[in-house]
Symmetry: C2
Subunit: 359 residues, 2 copies
């Protein structure tokens, strides 16, 4: 069987659409006839033409007769103009559809294909297909965004020395890596204290129509007195302010800034607001108390720690220490000049039962 | 010039003697005539025959006439039986001596060779030669051992969870690495609390006649009540107890155990005792308060931190946080399964003046 070979080709196509599909999954499609690829392509936009529709339109009826379509993601049933991808497949003469993963939102596509006597194969390279759209899948399977806590710490787990001006940890390679990494998330969240202290832009270096939304957690409305901050003025990405202080809604910000009312000011409410906006992934940038809150609520799926080989010592400002232990798995380690990026997924449930070993 | 080529060959020879020469330097020697290597070898023992003597004895007078001897380390002048290496070189007919580094203890070898009209070349691949015998050189240049602090910490800089039995950090790959690393040091130091709590063996996995001496810092003499500890009974390496409690000297330990009297109990006095015993290198294994003392006294030359990707959280026991900042350079990063070894040399003076950078 060449199913895996062609599905891998579909996956290789799909990744080419990275940063372009926003809230829709990455999708790659390969159409094969007589063991020859007759068309291949990837989804490269959000809410415009679907790649299946485009590929089918590029081929004549004779070519499509009896062909096999490979897609890493279950075809849509809902996209209306000219018919859904599922409808178009049924009409096309294609006789077999091979699918990496089914749509976690629930879909009747497979059922409809089977009803029309097409041969359907689901779950080919499913692990790889699910990993490709990890955040998308996570959101629909768990009903909340995938949450990554980013830290930049010294070896003694300090975020900075308490000097003025602040001594921070990020070398240029780390900054570049973070600017790249942000593009993998639909939103960034940061506490108002940190925004006020550091006045960051929180932008991505990736060219994309969908830079992450900058969510400022500002329960008390401190931003009223800091309206000159970059994130409130640069208009380079949306900025959302989550606050309990309704006076913030009276401030005249530019159109990129939205103010959301909170009633409890809890992390749970933050998640509720993000879920309602269908934000699939969240990158928590700090400060330490915000990060600790996420950790303590059990709302962290992954941690990325940019470690600088320095000890700030007792004058430093401590990084987040959770109330309970967190154990990581799927560890990756990268060196960035003299800094080290350590990343991993949070094990669930947390495990700290390693037994004592002779040393 | 082929000087570098042959010196590199001498260095490659020298490293073969690793773990065998104890307090003497690693030495490799290559004898070259008419651009041909006629003998090469390395020092493979402590206080027995020197490699220069052995190589010269293996060659006849005709071969040696006009030959060039390469050695990474200045020849000895003191070893008496049959003459020092310098004397033997002078007698041998060798006409040129190429030396990587001079002896930091001070030596008249080069002067004597020059007096006898030999051609002498010093400083070929000197950086590499000095690095090869880094601890030896450090000891004689600074009058104290080279000191490395080893840590095993979580991402939140905890040495362990405060559970009972203790939850520790070391995976088998880390334990193996530490057992290997110990052999690079002439002594290990550890606080009595840690020895009592964990009862480690503190041995090396390297086969050597010179396993590191296990120094227990036991100011108050707590070991009197813990005479069953492994380090006091296994007889697999020397154990030295540094104490202010003279009752420890009355305990009947086995011959591998020595008790040293301290008068001030300070880290400075620890260093004085080690200097007097000509201990060239020290590996500080903990606990955190002992490590902090070394850091705060400015007595740390290198740090090795074995990082486990876990957060122990607030229940954890904190790793050492120095009073002042310490900045590292010459960083190396190794992954050991899911753990990470981060090592670096302490910058002198410590520098924490990175300016704040846009993020």
């Amino acid at each position: 069987m060449n199913n895996k070979k062609y599905m891998q080709l579909a996956l290789d196509e799909a990744i080419k659409g990275r940063y372009q599909t926003y809230k829709n999954p990455l999708i790659g499609v390969v159409i094969v006839k007589d063991d020859q690829v007759i068309a291949q392509g990837h989804q490269d936009n959000f809410e415009q033409d679907h790649i299946i529709k485009k590929l089918l339109a590029s081929l004549d009826a004779t070519s499509l007769q009896g062909a096999t379509l490979y897609t890493n993601f279950e075809p849509c049933t809902s996209f209306s103009e000219g018919g859904s991808c599922t409808d178009l497949i049924i009409k096309s003469g294609i006789s077999q559809v091979v699918i990496g993963q089914s749509d976690p939102r629930g879909s009747e596509a497979i059922e409809r294909l089977l009803d029309k006597k097409l041969s359907v194969n689901v779950g080919i390279l499913e692990t790889e297909a699910k990993e490709l759209n990890k955040h998308f899948n996570y959101f629909y399977e768990n009903g909340r965004p995938f949450i990554t806590v980013k830290q930049t710490n010294s070896l003694d787990h300090m975020v900075s020395a308490a000097n003025s001006p602040r001594v921070v940890l990020n070398n240029p390679a780390v900054i570049n890596r973070i600017h790249l990494e942000r593009a993998d998330y639909q939103a960034i969240i940061i506490g108002s204290s940190t925004v006020i202290q550091d006045n960051p832009n929180l932008l991505t270096s990736v060219e994309t129509n969908f830079p992450p939304i900058r969510v400022i957690l500002d329960r008390r409305g401190r931003l009223i007195n800091h309206q000159g901050l970059n994130v409130l003025n640069d208009e380079k990405a949306p900025t959302w302010i989550f606050t309990e202080n309704l006076n913030l809604q009276k401030v005249h910000f530019n159109d990129n800034v939205r103010v959301f009312e909170m009633s409890t000011g809890t992390i749970a409410e933050v998640i509720d607001l993000l879920r309602a906006e269908e934000i699939q992934s969240l990158y928590v940038e700090g400060g330490p108390s915000v990060e600790k809150s996420f950790m303590d609520e059990g709302l962290v799926d992954a941690i990325v720690d940019y470690v600088k080989p320095i000890y700030f010592g007792e004058i430093g400002i401590g990084g987040p220490v959770p109330s309970r232990s967190l154990d990581l798995e799927n560890i990756s380690v990268e060196t960035l000049d003299d800094n080290i990026r350590i990343a991993g997924d949070v094990k669930k449930p947390a495990k700290t039962t390693d037994t004592y070993t002779e040393w």
